[in-house]
Symmetry: C2
Subunit: 213 residues, 2 copies
């Protein structure tokens, strides 16, 4: 069995690509993700990515126009995936179940794609210069909509009266922490077991108790 991949998002009318191109672009993006997610954009070097992918530096630049283009491609592929779990929250569903299901989807994202999570964290730490548009438009609209749903649920007494924005932020914080701070968690709990071990049960308990009307 294989993990779901952060999808290619290739447009139907996109550039025709040979098998070699598809394969090598993927290899490069994979090595680049490793480097960008640990050192950030400025701290990453093409030489590191070249070494990680087993290709020569000029060869990287045969497949991508620039260091920036590689980074942009990674972010582009990520952003859609990042929004999806929140999009799936159903206003017509059971409030507690919906929120906990959203938390669980986010946690699984952090567990299955920790490098993508750290890439995102790095971008935000730098002030989000490359995804400011995405955050101010797509993400903000989605959060505002969801906050209204949550507020309505609270108003109707179907969940405890909590600040909807902080409720969303808390889910982001708690789930993303297991990817972004995995190094710290590993050093404290022992690097042998999964940093998210026990997290799902704990978070379920937390949100069950927080949201009970």
């Amino acid at each position: 069995m294989s993990l779901p991949q952060i999808s290619d998002a290739e447009k139907p009318s996109g550039p025709r690509r040979t098998r070699i191109q598809q394969r090598n672009r993927q290899i490069i993006l994979d090595a680049a993700l490793e480097v960008f997610s640990t050192h950030g954009f400025r701290g990453a070097t093409l030489d590191q990515i070249a070494a990680g992918s087993g290709l020569s530096k000029p060869n990287l630049l045969y497949y991508f126009d620039s260091k920036d283009a590689i980074h942009r491609e990674l972010l582009t592929r990520l952003l859609g995936t990042w929004l999806e779990p929140l999009r799936k929250l159903d206003p017509a569903g059971d409030p507690q179940a919906e929120i906990i299901a959203y938390m669980r989807r986010k946690l699984h994202l952090a567990r299955d794609f920790p490098r993508e999570s750290r890439l995102f964290a790095n971008e935000i730490l730098q002030g989000a210069p490359r995804i400011e548009d995405f955050i101010r438009n797509d993400l903000r609209d989605l959060v505002d909509d969801t906050a209204q749903v949550l507020a309505a649920w609270a108003q109707a007494g179907r969940i405890a009266p909590v600040d909807p924005y902080h409720l969303i932020f808390s889910i982001w914080a708690l789930t993303q922490h297991y990817a972004d701070f995995a190094a710290q968690i590993g050093m404290i709990r022992g690097a042998d077991h999964d940093p998210t071990d026990g997290a799902e049960a704990f978070l379920e308990q937390l949100y069950t108790r927080l949201l009970a009307p």
Copy 2:
């Protein structure tokens, strides 16, 4: 009124320093904190720090041996401060009040020292190469001790039975998020108000409900 400073931690028998040295070292560290906390160690440049501090690059290196030495000094000054809130947790106190007070101290740290918080986050994202020792020894011991206290409280029925490690991690995640992801929060809620607005009340509500026996 002035914020409490991340202290100098100068040893009593440390090197004698003139007024100019004390002042310029502080100016350099302040500018360096800004740069390191947003771009990470590798992404930061001495030229940026020089520009930010208003000093020439050779002048930086008159006060510090190297880029690494500046970074190390910042981390050293930070680590003690980072441990203190957890150290203050009193095993003899009221369980709920103690845990919530710890959360509040951490939140204030994130609010008052967001750059230090991001410096720490950057270090962990990179795999914590420079503070691995600190985490594996000082931090781990303190966390283990605290986890035992929490477990005893849970055992005695004085708080709800929760995983003590995940409880600690949750406090780290929720409080640190308001500093590390401040850019994102600002873009969603409007950059005009403090990202931690309303956070204290929300987190108090969260932990009150989570910990109630």
